[in-house]
């Protein structure tokens, strides 16, 4: 039987998809701004965060409204409950992109410390993880969600590599690089945090589909 409720859930799905796209774009543009030392673009990322914030509020309101009006249970309930969590994770991801943009403003006018190689690599991982985790949610795809979770260690390794290089090759050798090196260090840390949020989303997707909690239980993967 076709339910009106399904139409509402479809709308929620679309809103979350929009949130995912906005978050992903923010990451992309903040790192683009970092690479090109583009203050204008960094400012745009910061300013456009208000859109993400508003969408977060709208999605939350929609979820609360659906719970109040339909009292969902079973798969419907898991979808809405996880939709709300996803919403918060994506908003957080967009906030981190703002943090990256703020680092850009900090160093854009200073001489380039080094060519960026690994940070863009980490960005690609982070972007893919966010995209895949949102796709896994939209398609209810547990296999894809598991791939996201497994990619997290790649992100951790790359972050460690970036950190080591910045400390050993720059900060330890030449104290005058410290300010710029710290900004890159923070960016690497931010990107790695984005991957953690994507991992949280992927874990929630597994719960949504199978009602199985894998969060804090890596052995269940």
């Amino acid at each position: 039987m076709q339910r009106h409720f399904d139409e509402e859930l479809k709308e929620l799905n679309q809103e979350i998809l929009k949130m995912g796209i906005l978050a992903e774009e923010s990451i992309q543009r903040s790192v683009e701004a970092l690479k090109n030392r583009d203050k204008k673009m960094a400012e745009a990322v910061i300013n456009e965060d208000a859109r993400v914030d508003q969408l977060e509020l709208d999605i939350d309101e929609k979820c609360i409204d659906l719970i109040a009006r339909y009292q969902p249970i079973a798969g419907d309930l898991r979808f809405i409950a996880i939709g709300m969590k996803l919403n918060a994770e994506l908003e957080r991801i967009a906030d981190i992109a703002v943090d990256i943009a703020q680092r850009v403003l900090e160093i854009a006018d200073k001489p380039q410390l080094k060519p960026l190689i690994d940070i863009p690599k980490l960005t690609t991982i982070a972007q893919n993880m966010v995209k895949m985790s949102v796709d896994a949610f939209l398609k209810k795809d547990v296999k894809l969600a598991k791939e996201v979770i497994l990619s997290d260690s790649d992100a951790d390794q790359l972050r460690n590599l970036i950190q080591r290089e910045l400390i050993e090759d720059y900060m330890a050798k030449d104290g005058s690089t410290a300010h710029r090196a710290i900004q890159y260090l923070l960016v690497a840390r931010f990107l790695e945090r984005i991957c953690d949020h994507a991992t949280n989303i992927a874990e929630d997707v597994i719960y949504m589909v199978h009602a199985e909690v894998v969060r804090h239980h890596p052995e269940k993967l």
Binding site: Q71, I73, A74, G75, D76
Partner: protein, 252 residues
């Protein structure tokens, strides 16, 4: 399961040629609330009524299999039906007080069981009305006609009348479906309080009600027990798709 108060073993029920319950096997746990859900005509009320042999009054019915109450088959020809019904009380969808006073309604079961001691009856009536969360509302007008009570109060009076003969099991067939939300809430609270003393089985069409009040939920369809599990499992992660389709309203 632990503390099974009732065990249905390959229970089958026929109205004439109509096979209403098909090989139902289930254990009902003591001092828990078991909700029975399912679409109209799925056999849930028939199953409920089979537990105190209420279906016996219908002609042309046939029963196969067993229902054990504390290990004894209630369909054993040697079982006393009156005794079973005293042990297994029932509350119906529509409250059905007798055209008597509030007091006499509750005392009725005691009197027909031959109890004459006035003080004993008085005490039991008070206790039953208190257990049914009605005492405070009626203690000053026990001699008034039961029909003067509101629908929700009448239903609690019927529960008090059932409790007066000290059953061990309470069967409830949609006990709140004709009541407004406030009266429904009172019945639900009451069920919650009563389960420490009684084993309760409730048939309900209201999914949220089943989710709120029952510890275990049984889903019946076309006379079969499709799924039976902890309510928390049935309503968050039912193991069968058809159960999910039914409880989420996709079914039909």
């Amino acid at each position: 399961m632990e503390n099974a108060k009732i065990k249905a073993l390959d229970f089958n029920f026929y109205y004439g040629a109509h096979h209403v319950l098909k090989n139902v096997s289930a254990e009902v746990i003591a001092n828990k609330v078991t909700g029975i859900i399912g679409p109209s005509g799925c056999g849930k009320s028939t199953f409920l009524r089979s537990i105190n042999r209420m279906n016996d009054v219908i002609s042309d019915v046939k029963v196969e299999g067993k229902i054990l109450l504390d290990g004894k088959n209630i369909y054993d020809p040697e079982m006393d039906v009156v005794d079973i019904r005293r042990q297994v009380g029932m509350v119906f969808q529509k409250s059905n007080p007798f055209p008597k006073s509030i007091f006499d309604n509750v005392a009725y079961g005691l009197r027909i069981n031959g109890i004459k001691d006035k003080y004993f009856i008085q005490e039991r009536v008070e206790k039953s009305l208190k257990d049914a969360a009605l005492w405070g509302e009626v203690k000053d007008r026990l001699q008034k006609n039961a029909f003067e009570l509101s629908g929700g109060q009448q239903q609690r009076l019927c529960i008090a009348r059932t409790l007066a003969v000290e059953p061990e099991i309470l069967l409830m067939d949609e006990p709140a479906s004709a009541l407004d939300p406030t009266a429904t809430l009172k019945i639900e609270e009451l069920i919650h309080q009563l389960k420490s003393k009684y084993t309760i089985i409730i048939v309900t069409h209201n999914m949220q009600q089943a989710a709120r009040i029952s510890d275990y939920t049984a889903f019946f369809m076309l006379g079969e027990l499709v799924e039976y599990d902890l309510t928390s499992m049935i309503f968050t992660n039912p193991s069968k798709k058809i159960t999910e389709d039914y409880i989420t309203g996709r079914f039909g």
